[in-house]
Amino acid sequence: MRNLTLRAQITLVYGVALMLGLLAFASLSLFILDDSARTSLDQTLLSDTRTLRALLEVRRGKILFDESDRSQFARVLGVKLSGAVYDARGRVIISSTQPIPRSVRAVAREMRATPRLLTVGPRDERLRVAVVPIKDGNRVAGVAILWRSIDFIEDLDRHSAVIFAVAAPLIVAFAILLGSVVARRGLLPLRRVAELASEIEAHDLSRRLRAPTTNDELGRLCAAFDRMLDRLEGAFERERRFTSDASHELRGPLSVMKVEAELALRRPRTAAEYNRALHVISSEVDHLVSLTTDLLATARAGSAETSPGTVNLSAIIESVTARVKTLAENRGVGIAVDCDGERYVRCDVQGTTRVVFAVLHNALKHSPPGGRIDIRCNDVEGGLAVEIADQGPGFSPEALQHAFERFWRDDDEGTCEGTGLGLSIAQGIMVGNGGAISLRNRLDERGAVVEVAFRRA
C-alpha cells in the first residue's frame, strides 16, 4: 500500500468499499425478495384453502360435494395451485391433479385438527402445502389441502443471484475506472506541486503554481504553497540583501588596510610613514571590530532569543544614567530624569539596558555643550514609554525615514563613524520584547526625541 500512488490507493479503497457495499446490498435484497415471495405464497395458499373449505358443506360428519362445487373448486385453485379434498377416511373427494404427490397425501392423511403450512417433498421437488381441517363440531370430517411447487422461488433467487454476479463486477469496474479518472484529474495539482517543489532551488524562488483559484482542498493547498513561496522569497531576499550589505561594510575597511599595507611595502619608507600606515590600519581594525560586534548583535536580535522578565524601568534608567555620568560632565551636558517611583515593564534586562544606553549615548554625542537631555516616563496605551530628548540638531528628514535600515548612515552628519547598525539592532531588541522604538524631532525647540516603548508587566 505504501508503494502505491495516492491515486491508486484512493481508487483501490474506493473499489473495495464499493464491492463490499454492493455485496451487502445484494444479499439483503435477495433475502428480502426470497422472504416476501415465500410469505406471499403462504398467504395465498392459506386464504385459498380457507375459501375452498368454505365451499364445502358438512352434514353429520360427511362432506357433501356436488357438481356445481366442482367448477367453484377449479376457480379457487386457478392455474398455479393444485388442491384436493380428503374425507376422514383419507379418500379423495376431489383433486385437481392426478396423481396427487405422495408427500401431499401423507400430510392430508394425518387429519390434524389445526390448519398448517409446511414444506414437503424430496429435494428436487419441494412443495409448499397448506392444510385446513374440515370440521363437523369437534370431529374432523376431512381436510382441504392446497400446494404449490416452490421451484419458482428458487428460480427467482437463482436468477437474481446471477444478475447480481454479472452486474456487480461490471459496476465496480466502471466505478473504478471513473474514480481513477476523477482522482487523476483531482490530484493533478498535487503532481504539479511536487514537480515545482523539486525544481525550485534557493537561488530562484520566483516560480509559483498559480493554480486556478478553486475553493477545494487542493486549491487551498496550492494557494498556501504559493504564499509560503512568497514568504520564503522575501526571507531569502532580505537575507541576500543583508549579506550583501554586510560584505560591503566589511570590504570598506579591508580595502583601506590592503592599500595602506601595500603602499607601505612597496619600497623602504621612513619611520613616520610606517607609523602613519599602522595608525590607519589600526583604526580600520577598530572599525571592523565594532562592525563585527554589531553584526553579531543583529544576528542575535534577529533570532529573538530573549527571555523577558519583569523589570523596574526606573532602575534601568538610573543605572544607565550613572554609566554616562562622567561623559556628560565632561561635555557639560545635564541630564534631567523625570521617572520616579517603581514602574514595572516586561522585557529582558540586558537588551533593554543596551537600547536605553545606546539612545542616551547618541543623545549625548549630539548635544551641544551646556545642553540638557530630558528623560521622561510616560504612560501610553498598553504600556510605558521612555522619552529621551536632546537639544542637538535633531534628525534630518532622511534620517527619520531611513534610520532603522541596516547600515544606513546620515551622510550629512559628515562623520563616517558608527556602523549604521545601532538603531536597527535597537529596533530588533525592542520588537523582540513586544515593544517599539520611534524617532521624531522636538516641536518647541531644536532637538531630537527618541521614544522607547515597553509592554507593561
Binding site: S247, H248, L254, S255, K258, V259, R266, D411
Partner: protein, 226 residues
C-alpha cells in the same frame, strides 16, 4: 596620467591617491556623488575611479550621466558588493572596467593602464616616439639604449607628451592634465619641467623632441616631422 577618484571612504581615497601619485599619476579626490559627477564632467581626466555606493548619487548613475553627457573618459568602477548585478549595471551604464574591494594597488594600476590604452587603442603598454620608449608598467624610459631616470611628475609630463605626439599641446592643456585641480600652478613651473625634460631626454646630445611653438605651446616629436 590624471585620475579622478570619487570615493566617500576618505582613508581609502587617500591611500589610493598616494599610491597613484608615487607611480607618477596626478590624482583628484571627490567624496560625494554630485560633486564627483561635476568634477568628472568638467575636468580633463584620463580616467575616473568611481565607487558604487556614494552619498547623494551612486556610481552607476554617475557613469550613466557622464556617458549621456558625451564624456568619454574611461571609467573604472569600484564595488564592495558580491553581487554580479552591481558589476553588470556598472558596465552597462558605460563603465569600462570594474574592481572588487578589497583590491591591490598593483591591479588597480594595471586596470587603469588597460582602460586608458583603449582610446586611442594602444597595442602594448609601451609608448614609442622615434627612439624614445616609455614602459607604462614599469615607468622605465629609454632613449636608444640609454636609460633615463625621471621623477614621478616628469614621467607624467612625458607620458602626456608622448600620448599626444605630433599635436599642439597648449599650456592650459598641460595644466589641466598634469596638476591637481585644487592646486594653482605658478607661472613658470611648466617651463621648468619642460626644460628639465629636454635636457634629460637628450643625455647624449640626441636631437631634441620638444619644440616650443611661440605664443601657442609645445609640440612633441622629431623636429619637422608630423
Amino acid at each position: 596620467m590624471k585620475v579622478l577618484i570619487v570615493e566617500d571612504n576618505g582613508a581609502l581615497a587617500e591611500g589610493v591617491r598616494r599610491g597613484l601619485a608615487e607611480s607618477g599619476h596626478i590624482v583628484d579626490i571627490e567624496a560625494d556623488g554630485i560633486s564627483g559627477e561635476s568634477a568628472a564632467e568638467a575636468g580633463a581626466y584620463d580616467a575616473v575611479i568611481l565607487d558604487v555606493m556614494l552619498p547623494h548619487r551612486d556610481g552607476v548613475t554617475i557613469a550613466k550621466n557622464l556617458r549621456a553627457a558625451g564624456v568619454r573618459t574611461p571609467i573604472l568602477i569600484l564595488t564592495a558588493r558580491d553581487t554580479v548585478e552591481d558589476i553588470v549595471c556598472g558596465l552597462d551604464a558605460g563603465a569600462d572596467d570594474y574592481l572588487r574591494k578589497p583590491f591591490t594597488l598593483a591591479e588597480l594600476e594595471a586596470r587603469l593602464r588597460s582602460i586608458t590604452r583603449r582610446d586611442p587603442p594602444l597595442l602594448s603598454n609601451e609608448l614609442r616616439v622615434e627612439d624614445l620608449t616609455m614602459d607604462l608598467t614599469t615607468r622605465d624610459v629609454r632613449r636608444g639604449a640609454a636609460a633615463i631616470h625621471l621623477s614621478a611628475r616628469e614621467s607624467a609630463f612625458l607620458e602626456y607628451f608622448m600620448r599626444n605626439a605630433g599635436l599642439l599641446i597648449t599650456r592650459a592643456m598641460l595644466e589641466d592634465a598634469l596638476w591637481e585641480t585644487t592646486r594653482d600652478t605658478t607661472s613658470n613651473v611648466i617651463e621648468v619641467y619642460v626644460r628639465r625634460l629636454r635636457s634629460k631626454l637628450s643625455p647624449n646630445a640626441e636631437p631634441p623632441l620638444i619644440t616650443t611653438i611661440r605664443g601657442a605651446g609645445y609640440k612633441f616629436g622629431p623636429r619637422g616631422g608630423a
